[in-house]
């Protein structure tokens, strides 16, 4: 397992290592030699327009399908070597809603807890803590179908945190949410990364979800075209803000695909 000097100079072990990963759908290349690391306690934003390869990358990290080229390690365990076991420290919130609409919040979370091997008592305790943190505890007995989009997202985030993951993957988790809910989720996840020392990989195409101190990866057409702290990436391009930097980096396509 590699160690690197962290932001504050301390030695940190990455919770996610992606190295030289390429992927094709037939003859169409979706990812081209992608490499990066995610460190604990930090949010790494993966910023790119629609179709840039973010969701493909997430599918490979979560082993929905295997990467034929390159290496992916979660907390030092290679997915190719360890198989499904490598996914144990991983929490995921997919772009697509994945809750069972006909079950209650509690039933959904209990199902997930069982899949993660938690006993009923532990599951209930963690469930309450996670829902409390997201102001959702009072909705625990309601069917998911009765919740609005923002509340469903909160439940999905609570579910992703139920087993105390070391790495949290969020694939455009705020899509379709109103602005206040979106901002609340962004704030909560950033606070969580620091307080629980979780490494977060946040795929987004919305600039305002990236904070200046976040690690930033800009992806376009399957390639990482810029990396570094968000504020440094902006400074290096000479742009006024992240939106401007992004437009420069991906050649002016941001207006159509990416919103501020």
């Amino acid at each position: 397992m590699q160690k690197q000097a962290g932001k504050n100079g301390s030695s940190e072990t990455p919770v996610l290592t992606v190295e030289n990963v390429s992927y094709w759908y037939g003859t169409k290349q979706a990812l081209d030699d992608v490499s990066f690391k995610v460190f604990p306690g930090r949010v790494t934003a993966l910023l790119g327009p629609n179709g840039a390869g973010k969701s493909t990358l997430f599918s490979l990290i979560t082993r929905l399908f295997d990467a034929p080229e390159g290496r992916i390690e979660i907390c030092g365990k290679s997915a190719a070597q360890w198989g499904a076991k490598a996914l144990a420290p991983l929490g995921v919130v997919f772009q697509q809603p994945t809750l069972d609409l006909d079950l209650t919040v509690k039933q959904n979370l209990r199902y997930f807890a069982a899949l993660r091997g938690l006993n009923r008592k532990d599951a209930d305790r963690r469930m309450l803590a996670a829902l409390n943190a997201l102001d959702m505890a009072e909705r625990i007995g309601e069917r998911v179908r009765a919740l609005n989009g923002g509340h469903r997202r909160r439940v999905e985030i609570a579910r992703g945190l139920l087993h105390d993951p070391k790495l949290l993957l969020l694939d455009e988790p705020t899509i379709g949410l109103d602005d206040p809910t979106r901002r609340a989720i962004v704030r909560h996840v950033h606070a969580l990364a620091k307080s629980e020392n979780i490494g977060v990989l946040w795929a987004t195409h919305l600039f305002d979800e990236v904070e200046p101190d976040d690690a930033l990866l800009v992806i376009d057409r399957g390639k990482i075209v810029a990396r570094g702290d968000a504020k440094d990436v902006v400074a290096e391009t000479g742009a006024r803000d992240l939106g401007g930097a992004f437009r420069l980096l991906i050649g002016g396509e941001a207006d159509e695909d990416v919103a501020a």
């Binding site: 390869g53 082993r63 991983l90 899949l115 091997g117 694939d171």
Partner: protein, 270 residues
């Protein structure tokens, strides 16, 4: 991963499937009404027209409704297998399949657990139907109700794994109705569910051959013999072989390295 993790995940998967089943009362009613129509209306008409000679496992003349009961039980399980696969396609489209597939447990285990969950649901339906059939006058050997349980588990697994295999090949939920029509009805009609094979041979030799190669025929015969405390070894071999084959192909189809799922569970955007 500890044994306890496997056990909890297994219970969790079965529990979710049962919860979903209990919430869909219409599904339970449909599962009962469909074979009851066959038993009460169809069998009543055919009782007079069609005589069943003494063929194994029967040791005496039986009425037609007794004859078709094992076939109707297999039909319930076939429908449940397809329903379960429909639910997998639905889960895939709705995204909840991803939650299952990103669990840190082997893919084959998750699929087998899901398969068992469907079998347990089918057993509830089967025994509810057998109870109603009993009150409609269909009496089977008392010990047969228990002796048929292993056969029903095996046939349920065969139909479930067939459904799972189909679910891996279906791209969209809308395509499923067509697939069901192409699978359920041919399998049911071209089998020994409604007529004994010898009668089929009298009518049409080629149809008889089709029936012989239809796994549904052997599922029906396995259940029929089990109710009379006998084992039809050919049926046991065919049903076991088909279960292993369908399950192996499903595990392959859902495997992240070799399978065909990446074309479907893959990416919506980005």
């Amino acid at each position: 991963m500890s044994t306890m993790h496997y056990a909890r995940a297994f219970v969790g998967i079965v529990w979710r499937e049962l919860l979903r089943f209990l919430q869909q009362r219409e599904r339970f009613l449909a599962a009962l009404v469909r074979p009851l129509i066959w038993l009460i209306i169809f069998a009543a008409g055919f009782r007079a027209a069609l005589g069943i000679s003494i063929i194994p496992p029967y040791q005496t003349y039986i009425t037609y409704d007794v004859y078709i009961t094992p076939g109707l039980l297999a039909m319930i399980q076939l429908f449940q297998g397809m329903q379960s696969s429909l639910s997998m396609v639905y889960d895939r489209e709705m995204g909840s399949m991803r939650v299952l597939l990103t669990t840190p447990l082997p893919r084959w285990f998750l699929l087998v657990a899901r398969l068992f969950a469907g079998v347990i649901v089918s057993l509830f339906q089967v025994y509810a139907f057998v109870l109603v059939a009993y009150f409609c006058g269909v009496e089977l050997p008392p010990l047969g109700y228990l002796a048929a349980l292993p056969a029903l588990i095996l046939t349920g697994m065969m139909f479930g794994s067939l459904g799972m295999l189909l679910s891996s090949t279906i791209k969209q939920l809308e395509n499923f109705a067509g697939i069901m029509n192409f699978v359920i009805f041919p399998m049911f009609f071209a089998s020994s569910a409604l007529y004994p094979l010898w009668k089929m041979r009298e009518g049409s030799l080629w149809l008889y051959q089709i029936c012989l190669y239809n796994p549904f025929t052997w599922a029906v015969e396995l259940i029929r013999f089990a109710f009379y405390l006998e084992i039809n070894w050919t049926a046991l071999g065919v049903v076991t072989g088909c279960t292993v084959l369908f399950l192996a192909l499903s595990v392959w189809a859902y495997d992240p390295s070799f399978g065909i799922q990446q074309r479907k569970v893959g990416v919506a955007a980005g």
